[in-house]
């Protein structure tokens, strides 16, 4: 197995044994179950699904921040660096591990949400729904990257709080900027707002895709900064 693969495997096992992986999956499943088990109008269903996904994304950012800060301060990252694992590899491994789990949770939630909307002819069409879910997943990746950056700079609790707060506030900012696709600013979290308002406004795929692109670009930039921060950190 490649060195990167080994480090990703260690990260996933660490998440599993510490129950953080289970927690992230439960939040994702919970967001979907919350709409599937309690039927409501299309508008309410989409809004509750978006809210549940927002909580799951904020939690994923907090988990990423806590995990990286714990690795850094406990000596575990230093142990890996002593075995010729690059600090950039550490950043990438934790990003991929947490993002994979978060996206799996989002996918499960989206599937349950689609089932909840099955009975309504006014639900969004499948392509639009998939684009919105992909946008939310890209936003999750950006939030997790921000969490990893926080984890390279701050102690565990502070990093988790900052990461969750940042994810929640930018998601809320996307909500507050309005959900009219004609005027929507392509913020990273805009897909959450578009999902919440999809029943009341004609949604087109474009804004969701643009928002996803911005989110992925933000994730890449944040990971580069996180790697630079970890290069300067004492392990």
């Amino acid at each position: 197995m490649s060195q990167a693969g080994s480090v990703i495997g260690l990260a996933v096992r660490e998440l599993w044994i510490s129950f953080r992986l289970l927690g992230l999956l439960v939040l994702g499943v919970g967001a979907g179950a919350g709409v599937a088990l309690f039927p409501a109008s299309v508008a309410d269903t989409l809004e509750r699904l978006a809210l549940g996904l927002a909580v799951a994304v904020a939690a994923a950012a907090a988990v990423a921040a806590w995990s990286v800060a714990a690795e850094r301060t406990s000596g575990r990252a230093g142990w890996l660096v002593g075995r010729s694992v690059g600090r950039g590899t550490l950043v990438a491994a934790w990003f991929l591990a947490v993002t994979a789990v978060a996206v799996a949770g989002i996918a499960i939630a989206a599937g349950l949400g689609w089932l909840a909307l099955a009975a309504y002819p006014t639900r969004p069409d499948p392509v639009t729904y998939l684009a919105l879910v992909a946008g939310v997943s890209a936003w999750a990746a950006a939030a997790i990257a921000a969490g990893i950056l926080a984890g390279t700079l701050l102690p565990r609790l502070a990093a988790a709080v900052v990461a969750a707060g940042l994810a929640a506030s930018i998601g809320l900012l996307g909500w507050l900027t309005g959900i009219d696709p004609a005027t929507t600013v392509p913020l990273p979290g805009i897909s959450l707002a578009l999902l919440a308002g999809a029943a009341d406004h004609p949604v087109i795929v474009g804004p969701a895709v643009r928002g996803a692109g911005v989110a992925l670009a933000a994730a890449a930039a944040l990971l580069i900064v996180a790697r630079a921060a970890l290069e300067r950190a004492d392990l």
């Binding site: 480090v7 044994i17 230093g78 660096v81 075995r83």
Partner: protein, 219 residues
């Protein structure tokens, strides 16, 4: 050894690439921890081993071997040898470090440091939970010549390990001398004796011919 305490530890960690520092260094012919082959030629062991507590010693060593690019068969062979050297028996080797306690974790840390058969071993006050005599035995590594750089706050406990002693004071090397010089000057291997020898020299010594990596050892 250092005055105030902590400077030697910081130096060893900087040599290992775990603490940021300015300047240049060269260990085992390599200038940077990111250089190819560093992990096999230089190993670090601190007061905390940094191994995940849910791992067993055997698993930790196999992972260490995998990360260093060893084949599975070679990693398994070196794992058996390293576990035997640090005195971890078969049943303990399959027990998680969380259940095995601090001494098991520290022994595993040393075994993991040895898995790459390093030329240079950077030791920052390691194995304190292990009996002193057993600790000395484990650190008298067999086989080829190696360089041990040992940061210690209790030099008396390092008797029998070091050929040379260095004192860091005010960010500079205030003393670098063979251990035999301590006895010749009527001092014991203790912090007080080392400081007395450094003060008795009256001036800063000539810098050692190699970087501080040569300060203790080779054996």
């Amino acid at each position: 050894m250092s005055d105030p305490p902590g400077a030697a530890s910081l130096l060893v960690r900087a040599l290992a690439g775990l603490a940021r520092a300015r300047g240049r260094m060269r260990l085992a012919g390599l200038a940077d921890p990111s250089a190819d082959g560093w992990g096999r030629r230089v190993a670090y062991l601190g007061p905390e081993p940094g191994i995940r507590s849910w791992m067993t010693p055997r698993e930790a060593l196999l992972v260490a071997g995998d990360l260093l690019g060893l084949s599975h068969a070679e990693a398994a062979r070196r794992t058996d040898r390293a576990l035997a050297w640090v005195g971890i028996e078969d049943d303990a080797a399959h027990r998680t470090l969380r259940r095995g306690g601090t001494a098991l974790a520290q022994r595993t840390g040393l075994a993991a440091a040895l898995i790459g058969d390093p030329e240079v071993l950077l030791l920052d006050d390691p194995l304190r939970a292990v009996d002193a005599a057993e600790r000395t035995r484990m650190l008298r590594l067999p086989g080829r010549r190696r360089t041990l750089v040992l940061a210690s706050r209790r030099p008396t406990a390092e008797a029998g390990l070091a050929d040379h002693v260095a004192l860091i004071r005010g960010g500079r090397i205030a003393l670098f001398a063979p251990v035999a010089d301590l006895a010749a000057a009527g001092h014991e291997l203790s912090m007080a004796g080392i400081v007395a020898l450094a003060d008795g020299q009256g001036r800063d010594p000539e810098p050692p011919p190699v970087a501080v990596a040569g300060a203790v050892g080779p054996r």
